[in-house]
């Protein structure tokens, strides 16, 4: 069983001409956990991952696996498996031959080719030319490439893009399994909801800068909780709330009362003799916290 290594980003910055794609980014990714690398379009996720993999040269800073730069790894494919968003295939080559080329280059066993194609559900299409593949099939082939060396570290850029519901469910379980085996799993996405069922930790960037770091639950901040309450006799309910000094606004499904405690409102209504039709807590979702962190829709 290959051991996962700690991924470390140390003050990584990258400029493309005048564009600051990534600015002073530092974080670590632990083995045995699935880490979501999140940010809106253009946040710098792909750039950061390409720097980590030695494909793009950082303007400053270092990114390492267990302290070793990618280009210095003695057996790169057997240490780190990476699938990046761009479809990187010669359309005239079959999936089997595509993978075979890189097993040769990396000195891996040729039997791995069919094993990984089976693992990602492409065994039946192994001999088909990749030019005829659908988006989801290409995504799976990219994943198969990442798995070739049975690596302890997985770096996946938007692996869920283009997968069907069956594929999405499969990959979520797959990511969990990989982490449970002790591997390091770093997955990027621009949608928290896409990965929130499978990640333990989140690293959130916006405009190339780190904005949040921590376990998924740390996003559950609930800064201004409210309770939704409604009654067939809304005026009576409003009067009872006003009498108790609870401020509220009128929402689509009832009154939005500025208190986190539904029990308090239930008691108020009961003592005031007002019948309730709706009573539940309105939680700010993880996605809302995420959007607040990355600056909502103005982030680009």
């Amino acid at each position: 069983m290959p051991a996962g290594a700690v991924i470390e980003f140390h003050n990584i910055s990258k400029r493309f001409g005048g564009v600051a794609a990534v600015t002073d980014l530092s974080f670590t990714v632990e083995p045995g956990r699935v880490t979501g690398f999140l940010g809106p379009n253009g946040a710098g996720k792909t750039t950061s991952l390409r720097i980590l993999l030695g494909l793009v040269a950082a303007s400053s800073g270092t990114a390492t696996f267990g302290g070793v730069r990618y280009r210095d790894l003695p057996h790169p494919l057997a240490t780190v498996g990476a699938a990046l968003e761009a479809a990187s295939f010669h359309p005239g080559r079959s999936a089997r031959d595509h993978l075979a080329v890189y097993t040769i280059a990396a000195g891996l066993s040729r039997t791995r080719v069919l094993e990984v194609l089976t693992q990602v559900g492409l065994a039946a299409h192994a001999a088909q030319r990749v030019g005829g593949y659908s988006l989801g099939m290409r995504q799976r082939l990219g994943l198969a490439y990442a798995l070739l060396g049975d690596p302890g570290v997985l770096v996946l850029d938007e692996p869920i893009n283009g997968l069907d519901p069956e594929g999405i469910r499969w990959i979520r379980g797959f990511l969990r399994d990989m982490a449970a085996e002790g591997r390091t799993v770093l997955v990027s996405s621009h949608l928290l909801s896409e990965v929130q069922q499978s990640v333990d930790d989140v690293v959130i960037i916006a405009r190339g800068q780190l904005v949040h770091l921590g376990p998924l639950s740390s996003l559950d901040t609930d800064a201004a909780p409210q309770t939704i309450v409604d009654s067939p006799d809304r005026d009576a309910l409003a009067a009872a709330l006003t009498a108790a000094g609870i401020t509220f606004s009128i929402g689509r499904t009832g009154l939005l009362a500025a208190t986190p405690d539904p029990g308090l409102l239930g008691h108020l209504a009961f003592t005031a003799g007002v019948e309730l039709s709706v009573l539940h807590r309105q939680k700010a979702g993880l996605e809302d916290s995420f959007l607040a962190l990355v600056g909502g829709s103005q982030s680009l």
């Binding site: 494909l55 793009v56 790169p76 080329v101 890189y102 490439y145």
Partner: protein, 277 residues
């Protein structure tokens, strides 16, 4: 070392897992076969009197008949060289075009090793193209000569030296293609340059250069002229009106090698080691 050997093996696999190589090889064989066969028939016909000299306009009529077989055989490189160049250029530009640099550099992060392996691989496959082209020029051209009763010179070591030097020239041309491809990674631009230069620009330059002693000396260093010097015979040297003695065969080889090295080293700096995004 083991890394380099693996990279060469992977580069071979890249070429032989797509269709381009055998399509080019078949076209090369047919093209050279037709040309060598056709011109062998024409010249041998003239020599043996089967075709009346009055029936064709031979221009200067400068062909001395003892050189006929090497002239026919050298079509393999003097005309066929564009094929290994194309294969080499497509091999390197294809990596950019299909974004296969990403999986390639992930599997082998040492980029210089990859480019060196690609060059070595293409030299060997270019020499393979040389075999195909010679099979056409010696096989078909020589066959036609024999059919006309002209000695095909297949016993002489001269012919076999020409064969060996043709293989070397074709290998070097493939390396020039790889170098051009990293120098101009845009595939369409690269192909246009190969075709325009080999089919149009260089023949004109060689012709223009050949009229004066001074320019003829410079013209000898054009890649096509260097290649013909390496191989030792060519329709172009026969057709040129005057001038400076061509380079020695080994000088021609070094000039070709120089073009390949310069293009590859500059290409490495301007595209190969840049960000892969």
């Amino acid at each position: 070392m083991i890394l380099f050997v693996r990279s060469v093996a992977a580069e071979f696999a890249k070429i032989f897992t797509t269709r381009l190589w055998w399509i080019l090889a078949i076209v090369l064989f047919c093209y050279i076969g037709l040309l060598a066969g056709g011109l062998a028939a024409l010249f041998a016909g003239l020599q043996t009197g089967v075709i009346s000299p009055d029936a064709v306009n031979t221009g200067g009529g400068a062909i001395t008949f003892g050189t006929l077989p090497p002239l026919i055989y050298s079509f393999a490189s003097s005309v066929g060289y564009v094929f290994p160049v194309l294969l080499g250029a497509l091999a390197s530009t294809g990596e950019f075009r299909h974004q296969t640099l990403t999986p390639t550099f992930l599997a082998t992060p040492r980029r210089g090793v990859v480019l060196g392996a690609k060059t070595v691989t293409l030299i060997l496959i270019g020499a393979g193209f040389g075999l195909v082209a010679l099979a056409a020029s010696v096989g078909i051209g020589g066959g036609v000569l024999s059919a006309f009763g002209v000695d095909a010179l297949l016993q002489g070591s001269e012919t076999w030296l020409l064969v060996a030097r043709t293989l070397l020239a074709m290998g070097l041309w493939a390396a020039i293609g790889v170098g051009l491809g990293v120098l101009v990674p845009n595939q369409v631009a690269s192909i246009v340059i190969v075709l325009a230069f080999t089919q149009f620009v260089e023949p004109l330059l060689r012709l223009a250069a050949s009229f004066l002693e001074v320019t003829a000396t410079i013209g000898n260093f054009l890649p096509g002229a260097a290649s013909d010097a390496l191989v030792g015979a060519s329709i172009f040297t026969v057709a040129s009106p005057a001038g400076a003695a061509p380079l020695d065969w080994w000088q021609g080889g070094l000039v070709l090698l120089g073009y390949a090295l310069v293009a590859t080293v500059i290409g490495y700096a301007v595209s190969w080691k840049k960000d892969v995004t």
